[in-house]
């Protein structure tokens, strides 16, 4: 049957659609990533671990002068902390300063090999250069002030029509001094950075690759890797999407088919629930269900860190209880049609029971609706998960695109787009690819489409 499907005309038409094939490849990459994450390629700790200074920009963005100072200052202060502790340990009789140095690590990036004494000169050189850099900046500030004062004075005198040649010369002198400071500062920066590199060398080989991937999209406001969070969120998104769509489609199909097939009070009851639930805006309904799971007793049970698998259950339940409505309505309509077809009567005439006919003869005939609804709900659930999480109602304690967006929101006002951007792009690409593929599938397999 699968071979037949692959060889079918629709499949050939689908495979000629390059955009669709590319989107399918994208979805497969996402899917494989989700599975890899599930198997532990990116753990939850990886997404929380500090890999560098706060709000480190990603690979494309050059680091400006102001940020360079801030980042170098962060590295210097971190290293100073470590080396001060190591120095205390060194001073203590029988202390092991190397152990203190070993404690410090930014993911794969650890302090260079060698004893405390070996590393001490580099640290001293770094500290010295840093202090000198501070002096240079202090000097620069002074000169700036001076130049500013002179300019003011020149303006005043010019207004009174007096001679300003002396002051002009003085200003030029100050500006020359200032210009001299810039290359000095640059040299000191390089000295500091070279020593940081010496103390905390970039890991080489595979570890280096992993580290550069981690910092590729920058870091968030706590110095954790944005790339790791975005990738881990793929797993959360697929989990929520898959479980929710499966649960919703099953509930919807069974209730819709039963309502249509049995009629009578079953139909009335199902329709009553469906129309009641669909009269409430679905985000509000979702929020209500999620809130219900935040009752202290339930929240304690589901948010227990010992059972991380349960953490998403409230979300599954809320989505599953909300999303089945559309499926139910569609399937009910289809079954109302199917149950009048003669093969259903023929099955009854062969002596099959009503439940058996419903399960084995009617529901398999709604399979196309189940597939369509599954793909729609899958994407719908991912989008809703992000929205709810952004509002603070969804995923908790795990990375999710929604959490990234809500955390990154205040960064945006400081021109730091990497966190929001990464989450948005990851989600956008997935949703777009899914929509393109489902459109292309529909076009390819629609018999009315020539």
């Amino acid at each position: 049957m699968i071979v037949k499907l692959i060889k079918s005309r629709g499949m050939r038409r689908f495979s000629r659609n390059r955009l669709a094939m590319f989107s399918l490849a994208v979805i497969i990459v996402y899917f494989l990533t989700a599975i890899a994450v599930m198997l532990g390629a990116v753990s939850r700790d990886d997404t929380k671990e500090r890999v560098g200074p706060n709000r480190l920009p990603g690979f494309l963005e050059p680091i400006g002068a102001e940020k360079r100072y801030d980042f170098d200052k962060w590295w210097v202060s971190e290293l100073t902390n470590v080396f001060e502790r190591a120095a205390r340990e060194n001073a203590r009789a029988g202390g092991d300063p190397r152990a203190v140095l070993d404690e410090f690590a930014l993911a794969e990036r650890t302090i260079a090999d060698g004893s405390y004494e070996d590393l001490k000169p580099a640290f001293d050189a770094m500290t010295e250069a840093w202090h000198e850099l501070d002096d240079v900046f202090a000097e620069q500030l002074d000169l700036d002030d001076e130049a500013f004062a002179i300019r003011d004075e020149i303006k005043e005198l010019q207004a009174e029509g007096e001679d300003v040649a002396d002051l002009q010369a003085e200003l030029e002198e100050v500006e020359a001094l200032l210009a001299e400071l810039a290359p000095r500062a640059e040299a000191l920066y390089q000295q500091v950075e070279a020593n940081i590199e010496k103390l905390l060398p970039m890991p080489s080989g595979f570890a280096g690759l992993v580290y550069s991937l981690r910092t590729m999209l920058g870091t968030d406001s706590k110095g954790a890797s944005i790339a790791a969070q975005a990738v881990y969120s793929i797993k959360i998104a697929f989990q929520v999407g898959f479980v929710t769509a499966l649960v919703a489609v099953l509930i919807g199909t069974i209730s819709g088919a039963a309502a249509a097939y049995f009629g009578g009070w079953v139909d009335h009851a199902v329709l009553w629930v469906v129309s009641t639930l669909s009269s409430i805006p679905y985000l509000v309904l979702l929020a209500v269900f999620v809130y219900a799971f935040q009752a202290p007793a339930l929240a304690e049970w589901f948010n227990n860190p010992e059972r991380p698998a349960l953490a998403l259950v409230p979300l599954y339940a809320a989505f599953g209880l909300t999303f089945w409505i559309g499926t139910c309505r569609v399937v009910r309509g289809e079954v109302l049609k199917i149950k009048e077809l003669e093969y259903v009567q023929a099955a009854t005439a062969l002596g099959f029971g009503r439940f058996y006919i419903l399960l084995r003869h009617i529901i398999p005939n709604t399979a196309h609706l189940m597939f369509i609804n599954f793909s729609l709900l899958f994407i719908g659930a991912i989008k809703s998960e992000v929205i709810l999480t952004f509002l603070g109602l969804g995923v908790k304690g795990q990375p999710s695109w929604g959490i990234m967006i809500s955390h990154g929101a205040d960064g945006v006002t400081n021109f730091f787009f990497w966190e929001v951007g990464a989450a948005t792009v990851f989600m956008f690409v997935l949703v777009l690819a899914f929509n393109i593929v489902s459109d292309a599938l529909q076009d390819a397999f629609d018999p009315k489409h020539v």
Binding site: L341, E342, A346, T348, A349, L350, G351, F352
Partner: protein, 341 residues
Amino acid sequence: MTNAPDAKPVLQVRHLTTSFRTDDGIVTAVDDVSFDVFAGETLGVVGESGCGKTVTSKSIMRLLPEHLTIYGEQSEVIFEGKNIIRANEREMRKIRGDKIAMIFQEPMTSLNPVFTVGWQLDEALKYHTNLSRKQRREKAIEMLRLVEIPNPERRIHEYPHQLSGGMRQRVMIAMALCCEPDILIADEPTTALDVTIQAQILDLMNGLKEKLHTAIMLITHDLGVVAQVCDRVMVMYAGRAIEFGSVREIFHEPQHPYTNALLESIPKRGSRRSRSRRLPTIPGIVPSLRNLPKGCRFNDRCPACQQRCIDEEPELINHSLDRPVRCHFPLNQKTQTESAH
């Protein structure tokens, strides 16, 4: 009754009255119909659209929506000594398919499109027999061969859409007969087929009846079909059985004016009348079940209608031997004396 090949009826229907609850009140679709089906015979049920043929057959199978259907208090459908009109769903399930099978009019939709022919045959066998998987497969192939489907070993792996209409009807017959039922109810089995296929299917059913000794209740509006395969005929009009008789009697000596009018309206090749005159039709339409005429239900269309027909509804009476007819003034009365001797 005459011409019955076997004197023992397998199915006795007595005073079957089937009514439906509708928005306009209760409508009686089948009114006080009684007949027998004997083993190994073919009973034809003939009548215009809406006269209650299908409702009669579905009442026997109890396929009508239970919550909307009311069966008359005196209604009895006696099968194997039991009144199955009052049987519960579980008992019915054992009878359906196993003892009484049914095939439907529309072969295009009577097979489930998502399963293979073999799967559907196997399902029926699994439900009613204790055969092993291999035996069931063999039986399925055997049944397909019996209904003259070429290459059954390959056909069992095919889906209904890969088969033609006639082929599907053969599969339906195979499914209906695979558990060797005592009675096969065929509800217009050939209406949707073209004429050559129709003849093949009818021949096939005739052959199978003799081979398997199954009684057939054939519902049709096509008198040609009746002439070809039936032993006895019941004519229905507006929910009533109006005439019984053997095929020969019905075709040659119709007693009820309605039967006569039906036969008149068949074009006859080579007859003088057909060349010189318009084909006769029955004027008017079948009366609405909600608004039946008083007296005989055929009175407003009957050419021989008299005052008595309007005042009083006729009973089903044996005017001649074993030929019950529901008419005050039956035609071809002369046969009474002839057959009495």
